[in-house]
Amino acid sequence: MSQHEIHVFTEFESKKLLATVGIPVTKGRVVSGEEEAVRVAEEVGFPVALKLASPQLVHKSNMGGVRLNVRTTKETRASYRNLISSAKDIDVQGVYVQSFIPDGVEVIVGSKRDQTFGPVVVFGLGGVFVEVLKDVAMRVVPFSEEEARKMVAETKGHTLLEGYRGRRADIGALVDIIMKFQDLLAQRTDLLEVDMNPVKVLEVGQGAVVVDARMTTS
């Protein structure tokens, strides 16, 4: 495959696609004005997060293109203006206003299309667990729900899900995301790489939600 054929999905596009198979994603949308930003923030409910929407920004947090835990209308306006003025030099599609999830254990669920075996699902705890320690578990699609559970349990970091600061995370909801993700990979054979990073896994009974995502297609 040659480089120019690869298409990169924005966060908003990625989440829209994930939602088609029933994977829970943060509520919100991309806006192009301050008033609209406030409207969306009120729609999804505070706190919210504002992110510059630009195909050029791959690592948003490194470039200051993100405002998290925005709690009021006033803060929303200020955050919107700051983001827009900080992005003079880049091609911006707008600002992605979305609900902010303050709690939960951060995990990564991703996939890659292997040349020999087809799509592979990768799971790991967020942050340093994947990026530095490479503490991940992998399965070749398709696999059963039992295998999905085993996959989660295989990582060294899974103890954080079993009981972090006395709270048990909703592993069932995480497994559900992994199973639905397999459906998407079966439907969309053009997906090359997907990162749902992070997925926030809340307390038992409260589910899990994709906070950020990106993907490439051929």
Binding site: T116, V122, V140, R214
Partner: protein, 469 residues
């Protein structure tokens, strides 16, 4: 797998007739060695040498061409120079030969893909299935059929239940010989070489259903069809057959990906690792590890867990095996009070009944001859023990006297309690060779070090887990 292949692979493994194209009297040549080994070891198979220049090879009537052979030919071994292979394949088609094994190299493995493609196309249009090129063929001890000239055939093929499948001819033959040398029998060995037509996937599928094969040992460099491989490997698992795999390429790193973390961790080898785990295959990294594990699998029952009981006359060895168990995936069994009390009866007064068990001393012990056998039995009777690992460090002479009593005890543990017993014996190289010869007829696996034993036992436990699943 095509319908045709499914029906016919039986004839590939159990041919009634074998033609050797390029047959020679010179046993320095592939065509001479093929003849020599085929005549020496094949039973119930008609052998037809083919050579346009000789009326006889090794006192067998020789045909000028395949077409002159009056009877049907199931398998043709092609041992002619590279430039003559294509014509031989065409001749196979004209004769209606079912399978051709091409030993000759100089095709895709050296970048000569066009020549290989021509072979495949010619074979396909002639209705001949192709093994190779660049392979070491087939050694079926189960069918007393030799279509190979690997030097492992200097030894007599030993029939058993290990099905060996490799891409490499050299290492495949080496493994085959190493198995036989230890008394481990093989059902079939196939080296697919370049795998241009008959591949790992299809042959693995045959091993899954083959009644002669109970264990699969696979040395893999890569597979062509991931989906077919997965399906075949699952068939092996579903047939309840343990599968050991060496897959080379571990040193290849995942490609750095600017965009996703997933991309950077899911390198090709990591995906193989995941897939093998998923299909219940046990991946090992060393040839010795594969041989040791196959030895245990071939002779011993699969344990129902990973809890091991250890005994040896060395306190240091006891500490070592406990550490190794932690690392390699065995657990040191917690013995019941009842077991410990019973153990005391066999032990010298100074010894402490526990696991791992230090039997303290052998020489001068009045129970020396019966102690090891009795302790194995007592430990095995404990419900919390799945595997028994006795080790000895004493002389071969006294050792073999001890074994006279211990063998039947261990055999009872194996046959009645279905618990594997794996031995280690730390001694000099020559003595170990003698011990191995004494142990092989009793189907008692013995290893020269505690670490090899614990490693083989851990793999046995993992295979047990997979098969139970």
């Amino acid at each position: 797998m095509t319908a045709q292949a499914e029906g016919n692979l039986t004839r590939f493994f159990k041919p009634k007739s074998l033609a050797i194209v390029g047959a020679s009297n010179d046993i320095a040549k592939p065509g001479g060695r093929l003849m020599d080994y085929a005549l020496k070891y094949s039973k119930g198979i008609e052998i037809y040498p083919v050579n346009p220049n000789r009326p006889e090879v090794m006192r067998k009537k020789t045909y000028r061409s395949l077409s002159e052979i009056p009877e049907e030919v199931d398998v043709a071994c092609i041992a002619v120079p590279q430039t003559g292979v294509l014509q031989s394949i065409k001749d196979c088609g004209a004769k209606g030969v079912k399978y051709a094994i091409v030993f000759t190299s100089g095709f895709a493995e050296l970048g000569n893909k066009t020549a290989e493609l021509a072979l495949v196309e010619s074979a396909r249009s002639g209705g001949t299935r192709l093994l190779g090129p660049n392979c070491q063929g087939v050694i079926s001890a189960a069918s007393s059929y030799i279509g190979s000239y690997h030097s492992c055939l200097e030894a007599h093929p030993l029939k058993g239940n290990v099905g060996l499948l490799t891409q490499s001819g050299a290492l495949g033959g080496y493994l085959c010989g190493a198995f036989w040398e230890r008394g481990i029998g093989t059902s079939h060995f196939v080296s697919v070489g370049n795998g241009s037509d008959l591949g790992i996937e299809e042959l693995l599928e045959y091993y899954a259903t083959d009644a002669e094969t109970g264990i699969v040992a696979l040395f893999l460099e890569g597979v062509r069809d991931g989906t077919a491989f997965r399906k075949a490997a699952e068939s092996v698992r579903n047939a309840g057959k343990p599968m050991l795999v060496i897959k080379t390429g571990k040193s290849e790193k995942g490609q750095a990906s600017a965009l996703t973390h997933t991309g950077s961790v899911a390198g090709s080898d990591a995906v193989y690792d995941a897939l093998l785990r998923q299909v219940g295959a046990v991946r090992v990294t060393r040839l010795g590890e594969l041989i040791d594990a196959a030895n245990a699998l071939a002779w011993q029952p699969l344990p129902s867990g990973n809890r091991a009981a250890f005994l040896s006359p060395s306190g240091a060895a006891c500490a070592l095996v406990a550490d190794l168990s932690e690392d390699l995936g065995l657990r040191v069994a917690d013995l019941s009070q009842e077991t410990l009390d019973k153990m005391k009866k066999s032990l010298p007064d100074v010894a402490v009944a526990k696991n791992p068990l230090d039997i303290v001393y052998v020489y001068g012990n009045p129970n020396a001859r019966t102690m090891v056998g009795d302790l194995i039995e007592t430990m095995a009777e404990d419900e919390s023990v799945d595997i028994i690992i006795p080790g000895l460090t004493i002389s071969t002479k006294l050792g073999l006297e001890i074994m006279e009593y211990a063998f039947p005890k261990a055999e009872k543990v194996v046959s009645e309690m279905k618990k594997p017993v794996l031995w280690w014996w730390a001694t000099d190289y020559d003595s170990f060779g003698r011990l191995r010869k004494a142990f092989a007829p009793r189907r008692a696996p013995i290893y020269p070090s505690p670490e090899q034993t614990v490693s083989a036992a851990a793999i046995l436990a993992r295979c047990g887990e997979v098969v139970r699943r």
